[in-house]
Assembly symmetry: C3
Homo-oligomer: 360 residues x 3
C-alpha cells in the first residue's frame, strides 16, 4: 500500500572488494570485533536472519537457505557481480558515504557505478584532523591546515560526521573551546602523537565540532548506545546558527533522539541502523521513533559497512517496516492514505534531500 521506491541513504560505508569466506562474512554480521560466544554464531541474530531472508533470492537462491550455500553462490558470481545485483536491488538512489573507515572498501565512484546511483561524501572529522596532523609540524601549521581542510571539505562533501562523542562521551562541554585552550591541547596532542595516532582529546573534539558547525554543512553526531539527551546543551548552544545536527543512529535511545528532534528545529534523527539491527522487530522500533519526532525530522540510512548485503537489509527492513507501520495507521483510520504516502517519501528521501541540499 505505502511504497518508497526511491531512498536516500544518509549514512553508509563502502563494500569490501575482496571475495569472502564464511567466517569473514559472518564476522561482519556481529556487533563486536571478536568472535561469537562458543556454541553460537552471528548468523543467529536478527541481522543474520534478515540477510538470509532478503539476499539469497537476489542471487537466485531460496530465502533462508543455509549460509554456506549462500556464500558458495556469492563466490560463484564473484564479488563484483554479486555486489551489483545486491546494491541495485536496494532502491537506494543516492548514497552518502562516510569514507573515513580503514579497510579495502569501495569509494564514491565505485559505489555509484556498482549501485547505479549517486554517491556523495561525508567527511569524518576525527580522521580529517588525524590526516592533517600527519603532515603538520607545528601547532600553528596544524590549526591553519585544519581550518583549510574543513573549509575544503565543506565545499565538496555533503556533511561532516563525528564519532568522538560516541567514543569519548557525549557529555563534552557544549561551548566552543577558547583559542588558548585549542592551542594548548593541540601542542600536547602533537607532541605525544605518533603518525597514525587517534584523536581523543576532548578540547580538540569540541574544536572539530564547532569548526564543522561554522562551515554550515550538516553535522552528523554518532551517539552509539548513549543517551542523546546528553547532547541537549550542545543542541541549545548551536540553535539558531543555521547548521543542522543529525543524530546517528540512536537505538536504544531512539525515543530520546526523537524528543530532541521535536524540541530543537535544527536537530534531526536517523531511523536506519536501529532497524537493520533489529530485523523482524524493526516495525516496533520505527513506530516508537515516530511517536514524538516531527515527520520532517527523520532520515533513513542503512549504516551499512563492508557487505552489500547490509545495504540490502538496511533498505528492505526500512521499507517494509515503514509500509507496515504507516499502512496499519491508515487501516485504523488514524492517518489518511495520502498523508501516509507523503510522510513515507519524506523519511525515505525528501527530508534528506532538503537537509543535505541534494538535487531530485
Amino acid at each position: 500500500m505505502i511504497d518508497t521506491p526511491t531512498l536516500v541513504d544518509q549514512y553508509c560505508h563502502g563494500v569490501l572488494r575482496t571475495e569472502l569466506g564464511l567466517g569473514t562474512f559472518e564476522a561482519h554480521l556481529g556487533r563486536t570485533a571478536g568472535p561469537p560466544a562458543p556454541g553460537t554464531t552471528f548468523f543467529d541474530t536478527q541481522t543474520g536472519f534478515a540477510v538470509r531472508r532478503w539476499c539469497p533470492p537476489l542471487l537466485g537462491l531460496e530465502p533462508h537457505c543455509p549460509p554456506a550455500r549462500y556464500l558458495a553462490r556469492r563466490r560463484e558470481l564473484g564479488v563484483l557481480e554479486s555486489g551489483r545485483r545486491l546494491l541495485r536491488a536496494t532502491g537506494i538512489a543516492t548514497y552518502l558515504v562516510d569514507t573515513g573507515l580503514p579497510g579495502d572498501l569501495t569509494g564514491l565512484p565505485e559505489m555509484a557505478a556498482t549501485g547505479d546511483a549517486d554517491a556523495h561524501e561525508i567527511v569524518r572529522l576525527e580522521q580529517l584532523a588525524e590526516q592533517v596532523a600527519d603532515t603538520s609540524g607545528t601547532v600553528d601549521g596544524f590549526l591553519a591546515n585544519l581550518a583549510e581542510a574543513v573549509h575544503g571539505a565543506a565545499a565538496s562533501a555533503v556533511a561532516f560526521t563525528s564519532v568522538g562523542g560516541a567514543r569519548h562521551g557525549l557529555a563534552l562541554a557544549p561551548e566552543p573551546p577558547g583559542p588558548g585552550e585549542v592551542r594548548g591541547a593541540t601542542g600536547r596532542w602533537l607532541a605525544a602523537r605518533q603518525v597514525g595516532g587517534r584523536l581523543t582529546d576532548p578540547v580538540l573534539l569540541r574544536h572539530l565540532r564547532w569548526s564543522a558547525v561554522a562551515s554550515g554543512r550538516p553535522l552528523q553526531l554518532h551517539v552509539g548506545v548513549d543517551d542523546p539527551l546528553l547532547l541537549t546543551d550542545f543542541a541549545a548552544a548551536t540553535a539558531g546558527l543555521g547548521t543542522d545536527l543529525v543524530l546517528l543512529p540512536g537505538y536504544p535511545y531512539h525515543r530520546h533522539a526523537a524528543h530532541l528532534a521535536s524540541v530543537f528545529p535544527h536537530v534531526y534523527a536517523d531511523v536506519g541502523p536501529a532497524l537493520a539491527h533489529t530485523g523482524a522487530g524493526a516495525a516496533s522500533v520505527l513506530a516508537e521513533t515516530l511517536e514524538l519526532a516531527p515527520f520532517g525530522k527523520l532520515l533513513f540510512s542503512s549504516g551499512a559497512r563492508g557487505l552489500p548485503e547490509l545495504h540490502v537489509v538496511g533498505a528492505r527492513i526500512f521499507r517494509e517496516a515503514l509500509a507496515r507501520v504507516l499502512s496499519g495507521w491508515v487501516v485504523d483510520g488514524a492517518w489518511c492514505r495520502s498523508d501516509a504516502q507523503r510522510v513515507a517519501e519524506m523519511i525515505a528521501a525528501g527530508n534528506a534531500r532538503r537537509v543535505y541540499g541534494l538535487a531530485h
Copy 2:
C-alpha cells in the same frame, strides 16, 4: 468492546479565549516555543495528525481535511461555539485545571460551563510562592504568608502541582530543608528578586514540596523527559505520611514511572499526555505503562493547554488506545472481559475520584 464514556482529566489547562489564525494554531501543536524547522510544519506530527483526525467531524467537516479548511470553519463558528462542540465531545466529566499558566486562558467556571462538566483547581506551587513573594516584604512575612497560602489552597484546591523538579533537576535532596536553610534561601531570593521573578532556588523548591506534602493534598510532580527514578529517594522519604504523589507525565520513562507506582503505595502515574503526543503510536505506550503499574495506580489526563482540540485528542486517543489494548488482551484470553471493563473505568475516572476525593 471496552468503553470509558466518562473521564476525569486529572491535569489540564484552560483554553484560549481569542480567535486563532493558522500560524497561532500551529504553534500550539509544537513541543517548543520556537518555529518549526524550515520546510516542516507542526501539523506533520502525531498530535497534528490526531487533531485532523478527530476534530473536523466535530465541526461538521471530513476527518483529515486540510488545516486551512479546518481553521476557516473554526473561525466561522467562533471560538466559543467551536470550544463548546469540542469540549463536550471529549467525554470528560471533570477537569482538574492547573491555573498557574500565563496567557488568556479560560478559568474554572468557563471550563465547566463550556465543557458542561465539573472543574476543580490544581494549585501550582512555584506560582503560589511567586505571588506571595510579590506581596511580602520580609523573610518572616513571606514564610508566614506562604504557609497561609498553602493552607488556604489546600482547603479549596484538589491538588498541588510542582514543575520545579522538571525544570531544575529531579534529583533535589529528598529531605525537607531545615528552618535556617529555608530562611537563608528566602532572604537571598527576596533580595535578588524583582517583581514577577521565578522561583528556582532548590532549597525553596524543596520547602514548597514538603509544605504541600504536609497539607495532605495529592502532590503532582512534573518529571518532563527525566527519569522519575531520580525521585526514588523523595518517594521513600514521603512514604507513610498519608500524602499521595502523582508523576506527570513520564514519557519516555513511563516504564520507570510505572515501576515507582508499583513499589510505593503512595505513588501514582499519569497516562495522558504521553498518549496525546504519540498519537497513532499511543496504544504501544499505554501497553508499556500497563506492564508494571498496578491498575489502581494509573490516572488519565489530557495535559491539554490552550486549544480545546488538545483536550479532544487527549481524551479520544486515550479512550481508543485503552479500548484497543484491553480488548486485545480479552480476545487473547489473557484477561476476562469484566476485569478489562473494570480496569478501564478505574484508569479513566475511578482512580482519580479516589485519589482526589471527588464525588461520583
Copy 3:
C-alpha cells in the same frame, strides 16, 4: 505452531511449605514488602491477572475465577497437592534454585520431587560470605574459609549469583580489589558486624564477584531496575577469562542487557521475570529483547519465589509470548519455521544447558 515443551528455569526460588490465606497469598503478588495502596489490591496487576488466568484450571476451576474461590480450592487440595499440580504443569524440566533466601521455602530435593524435575543449586555469594563470617573469628580465618566455601560451592552448584550490585549500585569499581584492601575491608566489617549482619561493603562485594569469576562457574548478576550498561567496565574486565556473566532480569533496561550480550561473548541475558511481571504485555517485552540479543545469548527463567503459581505464570507467559512473537515473524516471512523452532528451543532450554553444563 512454535512450541517449547521443555524448559530450563535458570533462576528461581523454592515455594512456601505452609497453607496460605488470601492476604498472605496476595502479598506475594506485589513487588514491595508493604501493603497495597488503600482501595487497591495486588491482584489488580498483570501478575495477579496472569495467576487468575493460568492457575485455576490446573486446580479444576474456571480461568479468572475470583481470588477467594481460588484460595479456597487451593486449601481444599492442600499445599502439597496444589504445589504438585501447579509445578508439574509448568513444563520446567530443570530448576536452578537460588537457595539463599530466608523463609520456609522448599529446597532442592523437594522442588525436584514436587515438580518431577531436576533441581540444581545456585549459590548466593553475599549469603555465603555472611555464613562464613558467622563462624570465622579473624580476618585470616574469614578469608581462608571464604575461599574454601567458594571452592566447595563451585564443585556442587551450577552457578553463583550476586545481588550486591542491584542493592548497592552496579557501578562498583570493575577491577578486583587488592589483597590489602580486602583485608582492611574484612577487618572493618567483622569488627562492626553482629551475627547475621548483611554484607554491603563495596570492596568485599567486588572480592566476592572476582572469587566467583575465578571459579569458572557462571556468575549471575542481579541488575534490578538499574541500567546494566553500568556493568560495561566489569564485563570488559572479565572478558576472555572463560567465565560467563548472566544478567538478571534486566527490565526495563532489557534492550541494554541485550546490547551487552551482543557485544561481549561471555555476557548472557535473562528473559524471564520481565515477562512474568508484565503479563499480557510480555510479548512486546520479549520482542524488544530479541531485537539486539544474539539468539544464543538469551535464557529463560521464572524468577519465581514462594508461590508455585509464580513458577506457572513465569513458564506459561514465556512460552506463550515466545510462540506468539516467533510465529508472527514466521507468518510475516521474516523468519523460516525451522529457524524459529530452533531459536525457541535454544532460549527455552538449550542455551542454559550449554552455559551451565547441564545434561540433556
